[in-house]
């Protein structure tokens, strides 16, 4: 009896040791605590769902596929610290992340040291892929296309000619507003003003400027985050100005409607790089599984994270095959990701030489003002090649 016990223990230990050798992990990095945790959790759960669904396939290949979630707290220092731990875990062969470009840029430099592949579901700053790092890819659009996409919609579809441009003086907001203005003026429109403000409560001076601007602006474009645009719109509407408003994906949060009030928020246009579930016919079934498993609605970033994880999963599978069934190296996985050709939930995923998706989708949305962010109308999907 004792012998049998020893034997069982021995077999179990051997099994664990073997299992250990065949573990493959995919890491996620996104804020899981703090004010942006709601968005970051969507990234983690989206990747988790994709990994759960691939587990059986990997078992047949003789590998145990696991998720390794990390919390970057939307903070560059913490992101870089995690990145160092990630590159020191040899089982991690890919990273899905981050939420914030400001965190993704320094962290990806750490991954680059060991050529560990990062596929981003959410980072829109042009610099993410403009630095020539071979291990960095993204499946969402870029700010230097998002701004122009908004400008074209405003000029061609809303027939706006005079626009009042505001930005929040951050790399994101100002960059977006500049790209918007550039394209709008190239189309023949006029930016009546281009103003930066860090103000978060008293927007009265800005509103008086809009009131006195000549020619009268037909649209206000605000490159910034919902926490600033929300109170701005509330005060603007309270003071009786009905000028239409447009923003970028920084406005894409139900918090915007809460801060502005549904009445004031109603009708606001925004462009976003991560469309809602309703924008993707293929996402419907996955969203149902997501809801069943996690008890939460699947939002844009989870869909993109699901696709990002699948890009890495497919690359690892290809690399295993090319490697004769053995565990691939990070270099091999990165090389396979660069060759990706995949039909994801969000459409065809193929990367250009920089690591941008060849054709990214941009969505023009309009706030419904019903108190439910998911009711917002999808007005237009624009597909634009990466610059």
């Amino acid at each position: 009896m004792r012998k049998l016990g020893v034997l069982v223990a021995g077999v179990a230990a051997l099994g664990m040791a073997l299992g250990q050798a065949n573990v493959i992990k995919i890491a996620t990095q996104s804020p899981l605590s703090g004010p942006q945790a709601a968005l970051g959790e969507q990234i983690k759960l989206g990747a988790e769902l994709a990994i759960e669904e691939a587990k059986a396939r990997f078992r047949q290949l003789g590998f145990d596929l696991q998720l390794a979630p990390y919390d970057d707290q939307a903070n560059p220092d913490i992101g870089v610290g995690n990145a160092n731990r990630i590159i020191n875990d040899p089982d991690i062969l890919g990273v899905v992340g981050h939420l914030n470009s400001g965190v993704a840029i320094p962290s990806s430099e750490v991954y680059a040291r060991v050529n560990l592949v990062m596929v981003s579901p959410a980072n829109t700053n042009p610099r993410v892929t403009e630095r020539g790092l071979k291990n960095v890819f993204r499946i969402c659009g870029r700010d230097d296309v998002q701004g122009p996409a908004g400008a074209e919609y405003a000029f061609n579809n809303l027939r706006v000619r005079n626009v009042f441009v505001i930005h929040d003086k951050t790399a994101y907001g100002q960059g977006l507003a500049e790209e918007f203005k550039k394209r709008f003026e190239a189309l023949g429109g006029k930016a009546v003003a281009f103003v930066g403000t860090e103000e978060t409560s008293n927007f009265v001076p800005l509103i008086n400027q809009i009131r006195s601007a000549r020619p009268t602006p037909e649209l206000i474009y605000f490159g910034g985050i919902y926490s600033q645009i929300g109170p701005f719109v509330k005060q603007l509407r309270e003071r009786g100005l009905k000028t239409r408003l447009m923003g970028g994906d920084g406005l894409d949060s139900s918090e915007f409607e809460r801060l502005a009030g549904s009445q004031a928020a109603k009708g606001t246009f925004y462009t976003t790089v991560a469309g809602p579930v309703s924008a993707f016919p293929k996402a419907k079934a996955v969203a149902q599984r997501f809801k069943q498993k996690y008890g939460k609605d699947m939002e844009g970033f989870a869909i993109y994270a699901y696709d990002s994880a699948n890009v890495i999963i497919a690359a690892i599978e290809n690399a295993i095959k090319a490697n004769g069934g053995r565990k691939p190296t990070r270099d091999q996985v990165t090389a396979e990701v660069a060759k990706t050709k995949l039909e994801g939930l969000t459409g065809t995923i193929e990367f250009n030489a920089k690591g941008d998706i060849k054709k990214a989708k941009y969505f023009v949305m309009q706030v419904a003002g019903t108190g439910n962010w998911a009711d917002n109308k999808l007005i237009r999907v624009i597909e634009v090649a990466a610059p």
Partner: protein, 320 residues
């Protein structure tokens, strides 16, 4: 350009007054504490913030129960004033009084304590609101009675702006009356003149100082509620900038001088609002609204170069 400036000038002046009255009410808190203790109570910014947060919470919880918007606002003002004033009293009791009792003569020690208290209050409110509602940005609830607006001589005026001006004028008048005409006011002035001597005259300085904090804190709290009503979004850090500006206003007016603090607040509100609106126009879009504080503070420095004691202040002589 001139036509553009003139077309909205009445509006800009009116909005400048709105902001100015908020600064004036907060500035009085700084000036009173300075007058009595010669202490710059930087935690006063956070007292103002606490008033704003209490205002938001009162509207959140009592709006369904109290159908009348004006009554609701009155409740918010009273509660906001009391809680903010109470916090100020606690801060004095546990942070400043022990230092005074120990006879700390270094002026920097209470100043640094004040800065520390200010951070503690910010994070305390953030913690409480985080646990309670999991919200960082607090939104002032909309109440129909207070949302009206009308136009007068081309000036767009909201009901709540009128209330803000009325309430602050009443508060400012009440405070002036209290300090100049009542027994408590006389005691405050006596303590401000000389603490040891006043205690020989049968005044309990600790009690008077405590009341000074209560009054100054309540004013700050009321200003906070009105600020939240006017500008609608509140965070635990919302007190910092208005606090610094109100402090500047107190210095501009002549710190320790009550009418000076009011005047300083109004001047600063006008400067800020004027340059906030017109800078892009005056500089041909080279300088935007974001430089409004820079210009306003430059002008303040300029004024103080020529009148270091402040607009209504007197040159401090040795107390006799």
């Amino acid at each position: 350009m001139l036509e553009q400036i003139l077309s909205i000038l009445p509006q800009v002046i009116f909005d400048g007054f709105l902001l100015g009255f908020v600064y004036a009410m907060v500035a009085l808190g700084y000036t009173m504490v300075y007058g009595v203790l010669e202490l710059i109570n930087f935690a006063h910014s956070e007292i103002f913030m606490i008033g704003a947060v209490v205002g938001v919470e009162v509207f959140r919880y009592l709006a369904p129960a109290v159908p009348n918007g004006f009554l609701l606002l009155l409740l918010a003002l009273v509660l906001g004033g009391l809680i903010a004033g109470g916090t100020a009293v606690l801060v004095e009791r546990f942070a400043y009084r022990p230092l005074r009792k120990r006879g700390t003569t270094n002026r920097l020690v209470p100043l640094v304590t004040a800065i520390g208290v200010s951070f503690i209050l910010q994070d305390l409110v953030r913690l409480i609101e985080g646990l309670w509602h999991n919200e960082f940005f607090l939104r002032m609830r909309t109440v129909e009675d207070l949302e009206g607006s009308f136009e007068l001589f081309g000036i767009f005026i909201q009901t709540k702006s009128v209330i803000l001006i009325l309430v602050s004028v009443v508060m400012l008048w009440g405070l002036t009356y209290l300090v100049n005409r009542t027994k408590l006011g006389m005691a405050i002035r006596a303590v401000a003149q000389d603490i040891p001597t006043s205690s020989l005259m049968g005044i309990d300085p600790d009690r008077i100082i405590s009341r000074t904090f209560l009054i100054g804190g309540s004013l700050g709290g009321v200003a906070g509620v009105l600020f939240a009503l006017q500008y609608t979004t509140v965070t635990p850090y919302v007190g910092f900038l208005p606090g610094i500006k109100a402090f500047t206003a107190a210095v501009l007016g002549g710190i320790g001088n009550l009418p000076g603090a009011m005047l300083g607040g109004l001047v600063l509100g006008q400067l800020e609002n004027f340059f906030g609106t017109y800078l892009p126009l005056l500089t041909n879009n080279n300088f935007g609204t974001e430089y409004k504080d820079v210009v306003a503070f430059l002008i303040l420095i300029f004024i103080l170069l020529f009148r270091p004691q402040g607009l209504l202040g007197q040159i401090v002589r040795e107390k006799v």
